[in-house]
């Protein structure tokens, strides 16, 4: 934002001498280099996220522990609710715990597969 104004001011004083012209040229080249550096940093930014993958990997490992159990627990709760509402005891619980087992497996595989970008894209 500030650059065009500055440049105009410099251009106004340009006739004063070659020093100003030199300064303008240097500022312009500095601008260009700054832009280049910013663009490059923006490009490398996603890659900068890689080095912290150490803590991310440990986080992933801690994640997996609860994924499977929670699937079975959720299935159990759903099954109990179905039995409670429909009076179909014990069939709702049996079927839903088995389905919850499947859901837990799905959770687990999804959580583990999440590290691969292909899987992530596929899910989207």
């Amino acid at each position: 934002m500030a650059n065009p104004n500055e440049r105009n001011g410099d251009n106004g004083r340009n006739s004063n001498g070659s020093d100003d012209a030199d300064l303008t040229a240097r500022m312009r080249s500095l601008d260009a280099r700054l832009d280049q550096a910013t663009a490059q940093r923006a490009k490398t930014e996603p890659r900068a996220a890689r080095p912290k993958s150490d803590s991310t990997a440990l986080g992933q490992a801690l994640r997996l522990s609860a994924e499977f159990v929670s699937g079975v627990v959720a299935g159990g709760i759903v099954g109990w609710l179905v039995d409670y509402l429909l009076g179909s005891s014990p069939w709702g619980l049996i079927v839903c715990i088995i389905l919850g087992f499947c859901a837990g497996m799905l959770n687990l595989m999804r959580a583990a597969g999440m590290v691969k970008p292909a899987r992530h894209d596929e899910k989207r």
Binding site: A49, S55, L58, G59, L62, R63, S65, A66, E67, V69, S70, G71, V73, A74, G75, I77, V78, C96, L99, G100, C102, A103, G104, L106, N107, R110, M114, K123, R124
Partner: protein, 242 residues
């Protein structure tokens, strides 16, 4: 010797309004976060001081996590995600101070936080995408005869999210604090046993010190995992896939 689970007991402080030690530490956590951040950003210098750079690091860390998982759209949830991260992290860290109560070691607290996240996902998903949000439960490329099973499994899988989110945080904090207390208790009982057993007393002490370091790591990592999963679930609300 005190029981290892005595530290999780809820004691009323002001019984009339059900204000307990848990409530006190929740209020304390919020006070620490708000006070700390206000203090850190007081000067708003272009070149940050120590406190300000810590605040900026926290901001950038959460913003980066959210942007990685949910894209630029996800930044509208930044206030929620940052509040959750700061609350869980500060509550975990305050719990590491000896004698302090750990708010996140109670499943009802973490479950409330998880319900907040899932509630946001469901409400925002339906408001933004309408019935299209239900496409989350119908994966593409599945044979028609298999679809009913897959949909039920997907629904159970979705329902298990708040459970896994809350269970993980609560179980890790609970187990860690119990383990610390048990090893610290060994030191006392070995010393009390006297004789040759007293010589062994430093061993569990070393273990307790090592566990303390591990617990600090876990306290941070669990806050981080909670945040990452929140971001991933919010991504589902923003872009319910096919």
């Amino acid at each position: 010797m005190a029981s290892p689970i005595e530290q999780f007991q809820i004691k009323p402080i002001i019984p009339v309004i059900n204000f307990t030690n848990s409530s006190l530490f929740m209020v304390g956590t919020v006070a620490v976060i708000v006070g700390g951040l206000l203090l850190a950003t007081r000067h708003r210098a272009v070149v940050p001081g120590r406190a300000q750079s810590v605040a900026e690091m926290l901001h950038d860390f959460v913003a980066g996590t959210l942007r990685d998982a949910a894209g630029q759209d996800g930044m509208r949830f930044f206030p929620l995600v940052f509040s959750l991260f700061m609350f869980v992290l500060t509550a975990n860290m305050l719990g590491m101070i000896p004698g302090f109560f750990t708010v996140t070691s109670h499943v009802i607290v973490t479950f409330a936080l998880a319900l907040l996240v899932i509630g946001t996902v469901v409400i925002y998903g339906f408001v933004k995408h309408g019935t299209h949000f239900l496409g989350l439960f119908v994966p593409s490329g599945v044979p028609a005869w298999l679809l009913p099973f897959i949909v039920v499994i997907e629904i159970i899988s979705f329902l298990s999210r708040p459970i896994s989110l809350s269970l993980r945080l609560f179980a890790n904090m609970l187990a860690g604090h119990i383990a610390l207390k048990v090893f610290a208790g060994f030191v006392v009982s070995l010393l009390a046993a006297g004789g040759a057993l007293s010589i062994l007393a430093p061993l569990p002490l070393l273990m307790a010190v090592a566990l303390m370091a591990l617990e600090f790591l876990v306290a941070f990592l669990q806050a981080y995992v909670f945040t990452v999963l929140t971001c991933i679930y919010l991504n589902d609300a923003l872009h319910p896939g096919h």
